[in-house]
Symmetry: C2
Subunit: 203 residues, 2 copies
């Protein structure tokens, strides 16, 4: 049975898994759902969300859980349980800031959206997180965790470009170690090749 990966027809939250699947050399069907198709598919999914991953006829949701699973196949995890803890912790931290920014981006109440934006999110929270992430990338020699390539780097690289779009700020400017992480992932041959051929989208 074919391995299938289902997400919207953009990069967003789903792209890190596309990176990992390609890096792992897993043959999969890259299914892309349009906004028109989504309302029909949504009620058939486990919790009304994408991405979805299907293997041997079994389907599962939750982007980070799927990413961690593919990372194990790609040998992008730690060598021991503490290393995995460090990877998991930084991934969850990157996810925290991703969530805050995307929830604001997709907030439909214009007044509240501005209230968050004008409030702490853009002026305080984003710089706070990215300054600390830069420090961590420096300590880890241009990686997000444990001083070598892991799925945390793939997750960061994919999320960083989405957040730059959503926030309207170049979050990697003057943060050379985070830029190194992103460049490193995007220079890996399977990822470089994928970036050249992938469908274009705003984020």
């Amino acid at each position: 049975m074919t391995t299938k990966y289902t997400y919207f027809d953009f990069r967003g939250l789903g792209e890190s898994i596309r990176y990992l699947l390609r890096y792992a050399g897993i043959d999969f069907e890259d299914i892309r759902i349009t906004f028109e198709e989504w309302p029909k598919l949504k009620p058939t999914t486990p919790f009304g969300q994408m991405p979805l991953y299907e293997e041997k006829g079994k389907t599962i949701n939750q982007s980070l859980a799927i990413a961690r699973y593919i990372a194990k196949k790609a040998n992008l995890v730690g060598r021991n349980e503490w290393e995995d803890l460090e990877i998991d912790a930084i991934v969850d931290t990157i996810n925290d800031i991703r969530q805050k920014v995307t929830e604001n981006y997709f907030e439909s109440n214009a007044e509240y959206k501005e209230y968050i934006k004008r409030g702490p999110l853009f002026k305080e929270t984003l710089p706070y997180y990215f300054d600390r992430l830069e420090k961590i990338a420096k300590e880890n020699l241009g990686y997000m965790a444990i001083g070598r390539l892991t799925w945390a780097d793939f997750y960061f690289a994919a999320v960083a470009s989405a957040l730059t779009h959503f926030s309207g700020t170049d979050l990697l400017k003057d943060r050379p170690y985070l830029q190194t992480v992103k460049n490193r992932v995007e220079s890996l041959p399977p990822i470089k090749k994928w970036i050249e051929v992938r469908p274009t989208s705003d984020f």
Copy 2:
């Protein structure tokens, strides 16, 4: 060096790790920070958040990453990578609904807080998640994943009581399989004993 666990002096997001540490039989210092002490400690933490876990002099944040790490020591994880994926996915789903409810509870803008409450959160999102979680608990014979005891059950049991408090609704009423999950965890001898002696708090 002593193993230390640092969180606020309530159960909240931190209690599932206290459960796991006790179930694993790990000797640890249960450090509880008051609201008065927190502003002083906050800038010294990795990302201004608790809980924090310290082992052999190394400190790390992120509740789910810590919980997964302790779960490995307690043999509360899967037998293979797909089982771990199933556990991770349901934990992240429980965490999604936990986040929505707690963020609303702690929202300081009264108008927006009501806008969310009156909107989809209480009337749609909470029942949507808990109905699906009940179905999953039924399919898994009174467990949250893979038909046997895992850290997903510990996470659910601890989160369910916090959410009942935050939402003001008994979310386990008429959901017997979710009630079974919670009862099972709370009946385990180390957890039962801990519940009897732990400090009291509203949530």
